[in-house]
Amino acid sequence: MASIRLAVPETARVDEIVEVKALIRHPMESGHRRGSRGEVIPRDIITRFECRYAGALVFAGDFHPGIAANPLITFHVRATRSGDLEFTWTDQHGESWSESATLTVT
């Protein structure tokens, strides 16, 4: 599972604030739903999202069942130097998925 889509500009000027979008395919099963036989469908959610820019944490999120399936998060990063933006999602069981994109600052 876990297909990830990122939207990160390839280049930016120094001190430009760029918009970043990160999406991961995940059911974000809330634990409040019931199946066809009335049984509770167990909770299965991503609980943590982190974005690191050149190794330093720049933005993070703690998710709860109120976040919709296939979470798409849009946020901003101040471009200071060229480097990788690394995105990591971790689910409640400790499994994690990562993807990165390179931002070239001119």
Binding site: A68, T74, R78
Partner: protein
Amino acid sequence: MHKTPPILSRRDLLSVGVGAVIVSASPLRSFAAQADLDRAQKELFGDRPVTEGRVALTLPPIAENGYSVPLSVDIESPMTDQDYVKRVAILSPRNPLPLIAQFQFTPQSGRARVDARIRMSGTQSIQAIAEMNDGSLWSGSRETVVTLAACVVL
């Protein structure tokens, strides 16, 4: 033989039923939900005072279903090393769990804005509380009418 009257007459049952309907429809329930929200706020931020302002929420005025509602939170801040937003908590007075998400910012964020898609179990006023690096708390809220709640359709 003397016939004892039934312990619960039809009239009694009816009045209990009507009473139950009135109680469940009354604002008492939303008071309880507000108490949940207050408890969540206390867990996150303690008893510190919260000032209304600096936090702008954008939500559609009407959402056709609560399964996925686009939310945007924009917090007024210069986002410098001296003055920035540390975190923002998104709270719901009506969902099964009041805390929807929490986001952390850094001065490197440049702008204290985040967009996400949330679940809403019914019409309600979503609240966001932001904590600045000086420890001050600011809040904003926005009401959205949900025609089909997430917990019903799911």
